[in-house]
Assembly symmetry: C2
Homo-oligomer: 498 residues x 2
């Protein structure tokens, strides 16, 4: 079997990307490591003036038999001791560490080799990449990687596609740059391929076509929905037909779980006897379908290791990654050297299998939290036809969908405006001591231009409002308490008897 | 004495800044820490799932009696042991650490409080801020902070002012964004205030005025020049007269040194008996002159602790910093939590005095390296009138200025084009085993629009070319060796007998 090369998609690049010149200093920085050259070329401080040495940090040890939340004792049995020296050590048997003398220096704008090689192997293990010239690039997390995506591809006035409700910071970043976000209808299973196709088939021929679709396929923020493999294949086909890129923003990818089972007696958490079984259970990604470098995947450690690492990676064709790299050289330069040394030091000690063990453990924890949240919602919320709960199969979020017209004062106090009901419920809920956030915070506002086909305008009832909650941020007892407070508030607001 | 508030400079903001909406999720993230609220609001993973605890790192201990380059032994006498726990510890006498449970979490887009308070105190100690509502904001280093500056203030087509030769990555970032960089003449003492004023007095009335001046006042990159206090005061007055902001990019500020003294017997390194003396010896900064919030100062740890910390800070008025913060919330979010925990953990143990001791030690090292470089230049370079050396009093860079027309083949092989001579010398130098970089790499190209007054076009001889070298990146023996190779190459190129 011959493996194909990616296509040339450089015609999607922004004016900024096209105008960007590589820094000439970056073209000679490799001479810093050339033994035949005395490097008087760039302002690189000598590492002897970096004040740090002997970085040590502890983590639990794979396969994490007590669960990933268990604190290690510090003993060899359950504790992974990560030690990163300032200077390169080459003793046999040692793990692939990034010495501080290198990670704290300039250079390596693609990321440190020891970090990239781990992430590259991980990516191929999970996604089984289908074209030859793919690669990975270190990022400062997905917020930054998304903003870079906009800069790499979009000019002011360009249009992109996104789920009708999406992560507000992502939408706002686009809007501030003058990029029109065209909303695509979604249901409880995510983006609706038929609606997407209809939008593009009926695209205003006077208007430029969208450059890409921005999607959060797994545990979508805010709806909690996840795209099926089948929908992904359909969407990829539409992207080929109408020639746009797909940006998959996947911070929640590894928070996939069993389908929710309301009957606790029938609830059995999936167990994986091997990591291969776990990998096989995962949803197909857009990048795994991709045969031509049409997909850019934004991956992050924020939800699986910790947001403050400000470390993630992009998977895509080398051509596209080069454009990101040139942008990075003028923005973040590279992610923090401490972050790279610590994350690579930990992951290279855990190994690929150990990291998958961690992710399996994480799946277990979130499965339990999701179950607790949905159980509590069924227990504490009014069981009324105007309140609807869709148990998620991935991610951190659940939604409580409400028919605002069921509010006793809908037509009077709230003048039949569902957003006013939403705001009133939000205020009531917060004053009841629980924070869930209103759906309107996530609504893409870029609806008017270019004109949408009428049929896609209202896929759901216009009086439908929703609140996004998360089971991620608090322990199980507080979670139940929070949902109870939410339920009490809704009983009161809608005047339903308990 | 009443302390003034800053002026409102929001009319300089870019369209993007004006269009930027705060993320509504950021408005409620503080409720995460509210004990009366069950936080189901945002996708914050619980810190029990962060795999790290017991971060430890070693640094030398103030007052660094063996010099800042000496490796600590690990003993209590000469080693500062930084330990950062996952969870908050509140034992009396402990330093102000940022626990990993917080630094690795979302939130604190201005920076972690323990980091900011150190930097705030340091800033006031050094610059003695003159207006009331100033503050500091954590950044991912000056490359990122500069790019953010462009986004905060500039629209496509705007003009800014910069030194005629400046850091190429800074210039290229502006150019890629469609921002015209108007070059201002500089000499061996930096920007020439009279030329700056002349440019603005003669500004094309049809063209929009520049929004700001971008300057590297200390150890300017690439020329190595440093602005005197007097020139800074003049430039600030011109900025007030013509109403533009001043962006001072100051990575080399603490690499100030004694004036170069060629006669080694008369060379005495300045010693400071107190840190106050050291602070008093420093050049006045633009921010220290500023009475109205007209200056934005970009400060960095890259040159004083290590580039890979990707950590710095901006000093400016709260109004302006708010615009950066809103941009950061959609880009970097915040600098790496590991970087903040380690840097704050180290600096809060060293204390303000200890950090100044470090900076005094650094000054000593760079003074010695500068002396070695300039000594070697005088020793090894052809002593000809067409080669000119300006010993720097700050920073990492020296320049070798050459009259290209002195090249024996100037009019023949090189067709009287100094850039061709520059390129030929560059290639010769690299093939001789030393890297110095040609001045043209740093030349601002935005000269044509709007028209410059004729007098500012050629402040120096058009046949003058230069090469930038650094004494930062290599130890003293290699430095001498490199300069010797450079000298040999120049002897050969110019056919001068030794």
């Amino acid at each position: 079997m011959t493996v194909m090369e990616s296509k040339d998609f450089s015609y999607f690049f922004s004016d900024e990307t096209n105008a960007r010149k590589p820094s000439p200093l970056k073209t000679c920085i490799h001479l810093f490591h050339d033994p035949n050259i005395v490097f008087l070329g760039g302002g690189l401080p000598m590492s002897k003036y970096f004040p740090w040495d002997n970085l040590q940090i502890e983590s639990p040890l794979p396969p994490f038999p007590k669960g990933i939340g268990a604190s290690p004792s510090g003993s060899k049995e359950d504790t992974c001791h990560v030690t990163v020296k300032k200077n390169e050590t080459t003793k046999a048997g040692e793990t692939n560490d990034i010495p501080l003398s290198r990670s704290l220096q300039y250079g390596f704008s693609q990321g440190q080799p020891e970090f990239l090689s781990f992430v590259r192997e991980h990516t191929d293990k999970i996604h089984k990449m289908q074209y030859a010239d793919w690669d990975v690039l270190a990022t400062a997390g997905n917020t930054s990687a998304w903003e870079s995506t906009l800069r790499v591809f979009c000019n002011r006035g360009d249009t992109i596609l996104a789920e009708r409700f999406s992560f507000s910071a992502s939408l706002y970043a686009a809007e501030a740059q003058g990029v029109n976000v065209f909303p695509v209808p979604l249901d409880e299973h995510g983006l609706i391929p038929e609606k997407l196709e209809e939008i593009l088939d009926n695209w205003n021929p006077e208007a430029a076509k969208p450059k890409f679709l921005y999607t959060i396929p797994t545990g979508q923020n805010p709806t909690g929905s996840s795209l099926s493999d089948d929908r992904k294949t359909q969407i990829y086909r539409i992207a080929q037909k109408h020639d746009f890129l797909i940006i998959e923003d996947e911070p929640y990818y590894f928070l996939q779980m069993d389908a929710y089972e309301q009957d606790k007696s029938r609830r059995v958490q999936k167990n994986f006897s091997t990591t291969e079984e776990f990998v096989a259970s995962m949803a197909k990604s857009f990048i795994s379908i991709d045969t031509e470098g049409r997909v850019v995947r934004l991956d992050s450690f924020s939800k699986v290791l910790g947001p403050g690492t400000r470390l993630g990676w992009i998977v895509g064709s080398k051509q596209i990654l080069d454009a990101y790299k040139m942008l990075h050289e003028m923005t973040i330069q590279n992610p923090s050297g401490f972050s790279q040394s610590i994350v690579a030091g930990t992951l290279n000690r855990w190994g690929q299998e150990g990291f998958l063990d961690w992710l399996i453990g994480l799946r277990r924890e979130y499965n339990e939290k999701r179950d607790a949240a949905i159980d509590a919602l069924y227990e504490y919320l009014p069981r009324s036809s105007f309140i609807n709960i869709n148990p998620p199969i991935a991610g951190m979020f659940f939604t409580v969908n409400i028919d605002a017209s069921a509010h006793p004062e809908f037509a009077t106090t709230y003048k039949s405006d569902p957003e006013l009901v939403e705001q009133a419920i939000y205020e009531k809920v917060v004053s009841s001591g629980v924070l869930v956030v209103p759906g309107k915070w996530f609504k893409s506002e870029g609806e008017t231009q270019p004109p949408q086909p009428a049929s896609s305008k209202a896929v759901s009832d216009p009086n439908n409002i929703f609140f996004r909650g998360t089971y991620a941020a608090v322990p199980l007892d507080k979670l139940r308490d929070g949902v109870r407070r939410l339920g009490d508030a809704l009983y009161e607001v809608f005047g339903v008897a308990k």
